[in-house]
Amino acid sequence: MAKKRYIQAINDALMEEMARDPKIILFGEDVEISMFGDTQGLRARFGADRIRNTPICEATLTGMAVGAAASGYRVVLHMMFSNFIYTGFDAIANQMAKLRLMTGGQMRFPITVLAGYGGGRSSAAQHSDTPYPALMNLGGVNVVVPASPADAKGLLKTVLRADNPTFFLEAGGRGAETAEVPDDDYTIPLGKAAVLREGRDVTIVAIGTMVKHGVAAAAELAGKGIDAELIDVRSLVPFDEDTVLASVRKTGRLVVADEARDRCSAASHICAVVADKGFGSLKAAPKRVTVPNVAMPYAPNAEKNVLPNATKIAEAAAALVNAKAGS
């Protein structure tokens, strides 16, 4: 074990997997210099064939990823900020997510799309989106949202070895956060949530950027005598329903913390699934702590006002538990 930065863990996974598998190539805008640091050093190590800066042309980049994958390569496409996913959305929604079905399963698409998401740094509306709800609704792409360095590395290795298009979304601005990462060559399967804290009173399901706030919320709640169970979903597609449902069976209460806008958010979907399959175990209304249905404002105070945080999560959880106490 060694302490690693989140972004370093991602970089390590890319280094190790590209060394393992010569078919992996990576391209995107300024991936050689690497603004986020995730692709730093790759060009020097793997050369100009495998690592390429591209022109700014997202619509073509996503289509090229499809074409190169259909021709035998394992493609890593870096889209920089999540909002640029929209610029390249046609080939994602109409090709990447559908072509395997449309061709009767003839093709495989080992494509990993990297992008940073989320707000909190006054980057304003066009650089702060949390875009996974639209991706989750496509049906044909996986969505992975690692919250810790160790998960980032293990999940990315799994993704790089699999044959399905997967959005590996990096928690924006969290690159420097540090935690222990195992030294050995490990992978973490998709579709397995992590129970970060066991608890009896309420289940907090946290997604990506929200995990950190979930941890703080659970600590805050513990201080008030509320014993929260904290689940990090790790991947949204595939999604680990079982772990969430088992937890709600135990606690009877659910709060989902999600940095997506509320309407049709991942939180909505998780609440809907729990309300459906876990109805009998719910003692209170399942709650969403999300971003309201607005574009991200620039001013720090306005941005803070719309972003979920530990306090909002803790308050939602406490309200559920206290409602019971009071009723």
Partner: protein
């Protein structure tokens, strides 16, 4: 017909005719089947444009890739796709090349390098460019051909793919089939300037050809493919042609008024690439009428067999979707 330095022998010419005939007769059958209400979805036919697919694909190997359009039957067949498997697909059958999941607009056969017809106008451009990138990385001499329409040339990815292909010297061959219409809009009403000039801006080899002259197409494509195989990078061909059928077979059902003159269609019928090529072959005494009749008969049989195969096929597996959305992962 043009004469150039490339001089095709009968061994080259007859297969060209064969491919064109196959496309024409398969599509005539599809048209009839569509109008008889036998096909579940719509079809966009390639009738009148066969010389382009045939002339280009004659230079390609199975390992070369193509991407195609919503009007993709001709490219599929010219690249060696199976008429049986294509027809069964369009009938929505399990025996279809895409197991009934894709239909007319999505026929693909990866084993033949056919990366698929595509319902999204211009989508094939970037897929072909990505495939050309793969070819370049493989360091072999594979090429990737992108067929697209004049209408598609107004999508910005056209310029983007020219840029990437030129920059990286990819073996991408851009084949624009200018058939004078983008759906129901005459090309000039939606397309400023000359399409070829957009490619010329990248200083790559650009050729305009009579797309109803299969030998002209064949020569231009031969040069482009050779250039690409030798590592010379991308090139562009604009083939002027015409679709003799509607934008889609169903169009009469919703059009309130015609969008083109019967006279225009008639004029282009005179320039029918199939008729012209037959005339050339007999006129130059490369084939006699008997040979052509024999070929027609052979093709008729293939078409009849394919249609019967399609009609007799099993309905698609309704649960297949759940198994094949992902590789080794259920939807």
């Amino acid at each position: 017909m043009n004469s150039t330095n490339l001089d095709p022998t009968k061994d080259t010419l007859v297969p060209l005719l064969r491919r064109m005939l196959l496309i024409r007769r398969v599509e005539e059958r599809l048209s009839a089947d569509f109008h008889a209400g036998k096909l579940p979805g719509g079809v966009h036919l390639y009738i009148g444009q066969e010389a382009v697919a045939a002339g280009v694909c004659a230079h390609l190997r199975d390992s070369d890739t193509i991407t195609s359009t919503h009007r993709g039957h001709g490219h599929f067949l010219a690249k060696g796709g199976s008429p049986r498997a294509m027809m069964a697909e369009i009938w929505g059958k399990q025996e279809g090349i895409c197991r009934g999941m894709g239909g007319s607009m999505h026929v693909a056969d990866v084993s033949k390098g056919i990366l698929g017809a595509n319902g999204i106008v211009a989508a094939g451009l970037a897929i072909a460019t990505g495939s050309a990138f793969a070819a370049k990385l493989d360091k072999g001499d594979r090429v990737a051909v992108c067929f697209f329409g004049d209408g598609a040339s107004n999508q910005g990815t056209f310029m983007e793919c020219l840029n990437v292909s030129t920059l990286w010297q990819l073996p991408t061959i851009f084949v624009c089939e200018n058939n004078n219409f983008s759906e129901f809009s005459p090309t000039a009403t939606v397309t400023a300037g000359a399409i070829i000039d957009r490619a010329r801006a990248f200083k790559i080899p650009c050729t305009a050809v009579d797309g109803n002259d299969v030998l002209a197409v064949w020569r231009a494509a031969g040069a482009a493919v050779e250039h690409a195989r030798k590592g010379g990078g991308p090139s562009f061909i604009e083939a002027h042609t015409y679709r003799l059928h509607g934008h889609l077979e169903a169009e009469k059902s919703f059009l309130k008024s015609p969008y083109r003159e019967d006279r225009e269609i008639e004029e282009w019928r005179q320039r029918d690439p199939l008729r012209r090529f037959k005339d050339y072959l007999t006129g130059e005494r490369i084939c006699d009428g008997g040979e052509i009749d024999a070929l027609e008969a052979e093709i008729a049989e293939i078409v009849e067999d394919a249609a019967r195969f399609a009609e007799a096929g099993e309905p698609a597996d309704p649960n297949l979707v759940f198994d094949i959305m992902f590789h080794e992962q259920r939807a």
